[in-house]
Symmetry: C2
Subunit: 611 residues, 2 copies
Amino acid sequence: MANPCWIWYPGDMELYYALLQNMSRVERGCGWPAFWKSEGFRNRVVFRKEYDLAAPASFTVYSRAVGYVLAGEKKYPFGRLITVPEGPVRISVHAMRIDAFPAVFVDGDVIFSDRTWSVSDYDRTYDYAGTSRYFTDKTRDVASWPYSESLFEPVRVTPAEVSVPAAEAEDIQGNKAPFTRSGETLKAEGFLYEFETELTAQLSLKAADGTDLPAETLKTITAYLGESVSEALDPVHCYYSFTPDESGRTPRAALAAVFIPGPRLTVTAVHQYVDIPVRASFSSDDPLLQRIWDVSAHTFKLASGIFFIDGVKRDKWIWSGDAYQSIQLNSCFFRDPDIDRRTLIALRGNDPVTTHINTIADYSMLWLIGVMEHTAIYSDVEFLRDMYPKMKTMAEFLMKQTDEDGFFTGRPGDWIYIDWADMDKTGSFGAEQMLYALTMRKMSEAASLLDIREDAAFYETVWDSLREKINRFYWDEEKQAYIDSFRSGRRFVSRQTNIFALRSGVAEGDRRSAVIRNVLLNPEVPPITTPYFTFYELDELGKAGFTDILRERMTAYWGGMLERGATTFWEEYDPTVTGEAQYDMYGDRFGKSLCHAWAASPLYLISRYLT
Amino acid sequence: MANPCWIWYPGDMELYYALLQNMSRVERGCGWPAFWKSEGFRNRVVFRKEYDLAAPASFTVYSRAVGYVLAGEKKYPFGRLITVPEGPVRISVHAMRIDAFPAVFVDGDVIFSDRTWSVSDYDRTYDYAGTSRYFTDKTRDVASWPYSESLFEPVRVTPAEVSVPAAEAEDIQGNKAPFTRSGETLKAEGFLYEFETELTAQLSLKAADGTDLPAETLKTITAYLGESVSEALDPVHCYYSFTPDESGRTPRAALAAVFIPGPRLTVTAVHQYVDIPVRASFSSDDPLLQRIWDVSAHTFKLASGIFFIDGVKRDKWIWSGDAYQSIQLNSCFFRDPDIDRRTLIALRGNDPVTTHINTIADYSMLWLIGVMEHTAIYSDVEFLRDMYPKMKTMAEFLMKQTDEDGFFTGRPGDWIYIDWADMDKTGSFGAEQMLYALTMRKMSEAASLLDIREDAAFYETVWDSLREKINRFYWDEEKQAYIDSFRSGRRFVSRQTNIFALRSGVAEGDRRSAVIRNVLLNPEVPPITTPYFTFYELDELGKAGFTDILRERMTAYWGGMLERGATTFWEEYDPTVTGEAQYDMYGDRFGKSLCHAWAASPLYLISRYLT
């Protein structure tokens, strides 16, 4: 049966939507596109398929691109019914588009577009086309994503008044009309609308009686959005403020609450999401564990859209380290290989590699390691085969950035991140070497799987040599742990370097137990403060069988956020910080993301170690 | 005085408009985008400039991109007046755009955008921004070119009737309503509107009395355009047919005549062009020479827009070989370095080089040679410095495509063009070797000019070695000429190979005069039939002092087209072909371009040799 769908050059859809995703961040009226080199889709491609028809066949090609159909020797425009006689025929569809990726939809009973078409960009030809289960409607433009929608009413509406020092008047975003001056203060009265939890939604605004608001009224309205009530009630510092369009809708954005000056309105949140079925369920007698699972699940769902993004308010960007963890969460929640693939394709962009992914050296490595994790989870050798050339150019890019000892340093100015923590990155940083070695190990495994023996042997040699050298240079006999830097003389021991020594396999035998005892279970080593690295730490404790400690630490850490009223989990959590300060990050009030994918890792930890 | 203009990442404007240019060809309702790999502009860039202000300064940034302004430590949205205090300050403008290249306009008395801003794509940083004298209006979107316009009225309007065999009914483009059936024939009556010469114009259609036509009427109109009257009167085979938009305008397209079924209308051609001042003038007592100059000038002006294109009806594409000649015509007509630069940037696209320019190996070479010709004409070392890295990657790309003797073969499937003519391309084709050698020679000259001594020495060695080998393998002692192939055994002598032997400098001393005598002046060697190669041949005759022969051949060839009624010069001209057949090319009725840049070379030949 004919099951036609839109087709494109493999990867183009991902690269186009990655551009949109990475430019979707808005902060107080400023668009804030991601600060790394952004790679585009192709503009000119050709699709081909050969048929040997038992009878004449008719079809129509739909496209928003500029181009034509070549059926046999004859050219036809898009949108016209084409009939070809029985016998062998080659159909070619030429398409060029600038504002979005060229895509075509071939509609017919026998001749129709699907993954079996080949596609070329005049450089590389694939023997299959890019497709997605979300693009099967011939009437839609592929340039806009077909989100699923569900409606949410506020769970609480309360009168509210906000005041702003008059000196900050010019920093109030949007329409200032509802603000009135009273001495040195500007005030606005209105209503606060709170939703059950955070959403990624358009707001639909109507009059209190449910009727449409006149266009003139809509123009005077400003909605101040918040991930928290505090944020919604701060018109100077909240991230998003919008005036609705003529239909009464505001742009799609993260929100848990909204303050709207003026009379009470009927406010509905139209939550827009990518429908990915959940395969996991969890029920526990322990209400705290259950709540941690549920809130993790909601957090992860919000941060899993077209791509795995870091946070839904901020950055709304596709970060490789965050995605690497999301791939693992996905494996025990949605178990959806498509979002992995979309994200990995988007992150890597096009060859040549000239900068690190997200400008972070360890994120380049985690991308490559992530491809292999994905491959292992879904036995997705076909995807690995597609990615391998780009993994290899990435590996070659990395190998050019080593010092005279063969340790990875990055290029001057490259960002060696690993974690938000105090670490000693002098010279070649220990944690980075562990990841670098793991990257080489994964290259060897990838080449083996694809039976590229020469590469497999080469990268295995690199991995062996790195493992030996790291153990020689970074192991501190006295401390019985790996140090961050052997050049600084500080002999600083961080959890991060030792956790990655375990994760990478660089630590073997007795050194594994020594590291766990002397670092991971040692309260004198400064604790991890990000959910990001807590995932890695607890994963190692789980693997080593310390599931009681894992559970205790997990419930303390995530339970702590719940005690503060979290309905989604946060980018960072420090139990010692309270009040308004807990929303602050990067020196920015409300700068902290309150719905961050890397905080959803209990999904993985519970699935893997506590069930 | 402040003289602000739009700024962008150098090359982005050219790459964006090259995409538009190369997808602008339309053929009988089918969009026909160019069939080579198409390279895009950047999507995400940042502009920066540092000031040390003597007094507070205010400015506003305009952009259709998504982004923000960072003035000192503070972020501002686009469109807002920003005031910064006196003292040192760094202004950064971050911009991202998908549908066109990101560009910004900084409007202020002291802080304003111009070429002195630096710009980065997060990979390479330039210490100057891209600008153009055509983009100085802050209210315009840089995504649409600000064409100059002039109006043309028809010089002749005559009633006309066309008929089409009923069997071809479905091939009549556009609205068929005005066609009525009469037996086995479909007929339409209307009017033929002829213009003085070919234009690139929108048509503005009004009622006979000059009033606007109702939208309902406009929808029923189809205009059939032609470069010739024959084409306009052939609704099945003419290239362009349009229904006007609601304002009565048709899309910008090449036309010399238009047939519109139905009652007589007021038809105005709105010629849209890029205003490039002409620096040359020519007046002669010889009316034929004068006419050849004038028609060449009109032809060249039509084909010189944002870029040098091949032809204005077809292909409307940027071809490297054609552009190479246009650079030389330009030097003695507009003498405008900007159009050279725009064209050379557009042709080359982005690194890495993975395919030949326009898919043609010799066009890759002519691009590189063209950069050096441009440099020589305008002493434009700054442009050369910009291009040199891309010249070098191109040279390296070419050098990988040689055989065991070091002769250039291209890769399997690469197009070795040189000319539309019968030549012996077996193995490594002689004419191609001449160009390849010249490419290496030009690389050496470029490196010398930029004082990159190692490269200069290297490429000189390659050039010396190639020159020696070509003379050894391709020179035929008996014929006293260069042969096309030493592998086929045919010892075929073409004008093309010998002309390029002269042009490249591979032929020296006695061999130069032998080649001129035995090939160029030898009527037994098959003549050139394209204006393209006629340029190269006459240029060599001119350089060798045979200006009488040059003049004689030039006036015969171009005078021949004038005798056929040409008001612009043609893509190809064969004096033995007459009637309707003279419009045929590539087996396509009206397939021949009647206004083709490479036919305008009398501008150069007259300037250089006959004045």
